[in-house]
Amino acid sequence: MTTTPDPATAAQAVFVESAEHAGPGEAPEPQQQGKQKSHGQFADMWRRFRRNRLAMAGLVVVVILIVLALLQPVISPYDPYDQNLLNTLASPGGDHLMGTDALGRDLFSGLLYGLRLALLVGLLTMLGSMTLGVTLGALAGYRGKIADGLVMRTTDIFLAFPFLIGAILVVRTFGTGVFQVIIALVILGWPTAARLMRGQILALRESEYVEAARSIGASDWRIVTRHILPNAIQPVFIYSFTSIGVAVVAMASLAYLGVGVPPDTPEWGRMINMGIEQVQVAGKDFLWMFPSAAICLTTLVFAFVADGLRDSLDPKLR
């Protein structure tokens, strides 16, 4: 080129580019480049997120579910473990809002307990696999060479296990229990987060503003924490919501198969498994329907929030 475009025309070029790609009704918003404070980006995301009604509804339900789970010990009408063999398979209504199961345990109390359990496992799994994945992914992406090779080959190995089968294997190795389930899900979940993070870092590492920071002699630590992480974290943040849903379903699936939590735990997958054994008894479909609905609701609202976040990050992708 005979003329080197100054930054202003470069920004304009980006603007034109994005506008040409915009579909009908889409705003040809100028895309800001590079150096931005992360809170500015999150504020932007939040502004777009709020306009998405489904995502907002999802977020409200997520909050309600979390509050219910926290209050479970207080609002649970019965002890979810309390059996009453004199009042089994009671239909919903009366003393038992959602009826009782084959052991005479209050179904509603069981569902609340299951909610607490599901969110606990979902959140801890998310935190665990994100911490591990983001750290290792960032290390691999930024350091490259040996660190990258090591981390990537390790993810290859872990990703060679189909999710459920891998989880079964880990739980069987470490024994039954909620904690073991979380360990299993973290072991299987971190490689995805690590790869996501690494990809982001690789893209950013060569970007202009990181080069600029490097050229003025900023330390690695400063470059990573100030320049790379804030920009790389968004997709990871979105994925973290998805991963909560994945963990909730995975635990329920394991429990349905009789792996993971002890068999008498009021856990949604267990409850469904026990519920569908009662189909021969007419009119007892509520036994599997309520816990199924609970799982659907939980995973759906988390999916709505994750979808909304994704769209708010990149409106072009809609």
Binding site: I157, A160, L169, A252, L257, L300, L317
Partner: protein
């Protein structure tokens, strides 16, 4: 291309070796897979046969090699209950699983690709919105809830065999396979539709699509030739991986519908603490999965010349 295949093959072999080491540690080092545990009583003769087969009086490295050797020769020991060869048990279940995987994949590819293309080409239209809503629901609702719901409402109706099954009644395979296949296909079709839509939208705004239009090609050729060949690539990847998972046994779905595949066999073995069978199926699932990932990568390179030739 040849170099690429060889490199990918070597990588797959490495992954398999590493994965089997992990499996070996989990199965043999951290526990005794053939001992009686809890209320599970393993007859001493059975234990003896298996310990012999897996060389369990030897050092750990030797044990690992024995385990690998057994895998390679396809001799996976005997099951703890009736001393049937595990390889035979898997062999009997595998055709059912393969059939299920194949039918599910055919359904979901057709539905997913068509829905994805329609949604992308007529973006923001009624059909696009419909596809978005349905895929959101289908992805948000866990497979096993869909399966439970189909099992509780549709099984036993019309040609669909009753679940739980009475094993005296034999149903033809194509009626047995339908509900599990649909269960598996619903989620995958939704994923494929989304993938296809996103990838098609991305491709449609590429410069070479503009070039194709500037050539005077009809919109149908532009989409079905120029855009399709490029946008199908991620779908191929997804489908390959999905086949890899399904061939290893769709454990939840097969169990729900009591479908006699590898997954259901695994479930029953877990219930019975039948370790040799569990061990074999898990190993098998990993192998299939790694193999399919490798095939997918090679196919990917074939579809995208930019990778093929680098």
């Amino acid at each position: 291309m040849g170099k690429f295949v060889i490199r990918r093959l070597a990588q797959a072999v490495m992954v398999v070796i590493a994965a089997t080491i992990l499996l070996f540690i989990g199965l043999f080092v951290l526990g005794d897979p053939f001992a009686s545990s809890g209320d599970k009583v393993v007859p001493p003769e059975t234990q003896a046969i298996l310990r012999e087969k897996f060389g369990m009086d030897q050092s750990l490295p030797m044990q690992y090699l024995t385990y690998l050797g057994n895998l390679v020769t396809g001799d996976l020991g005997i099951d703890l209950n009736q001393r049937r060869p595990v390889a035979d048990m898997i062999g009997a279940a595998l055709p059912n699983t393969a059939r299920l995987a194949l039918i599910a994949i055919i359904i979901d590819v057709i539905i997913g690709v068509v829905a994805g293309i329609i949604a992308a080409v007529w973006r923001y239209s009624f059909w696009d919105v419909l596809v978005t809503i349905i895929t959101t629901l289908a992805i948000g609702v866990p497979t096993f809830v869909i399966g439970v719901w189909l099992r509780q409402t549709v099984s036993g109706v019309w040609i669909f065999p009753q679940v739980p099954r009475s094993f005296t009644e034999l149903a033809p395979w194509y009626t047995e396979v339908l509900l599990p296949a649909v269960t598996l296909a619903i989620v995958d079709a939704a994923f494929i539709a989304r993938l296809m839509r996103g990838s098609m939208l991305e491709v449609l705004r590429m410069d070479y699509i503009r070039t194709a239009r500037a050539k005077g090609l009809g919109e149908r050729t532009v989409i079905m030739k120029h855009a399709f060949r490029n946008s199908i690539i991620p779908v191929v990847t997804y489908v390959g991986i999905s086949i890899g998972i399904l061939l290893g046994g769709a454990i939840i779905t097969e169990t729900l519908f009591q479908y006699n595949g590898v997954g259901y066999l695994l479930y029953r073995s877990i219930l019975q603490n039948n370790n040799p069978v569990i061990m074999a199926i898990v190993t098998f699932a990993v192998l299939i999965y790694v193999l399919l990932s490798m095939i997918v990568d090679i196919l990917y390179a074939y579809l995208d010349p930019r990778i093929r030739l680098s």
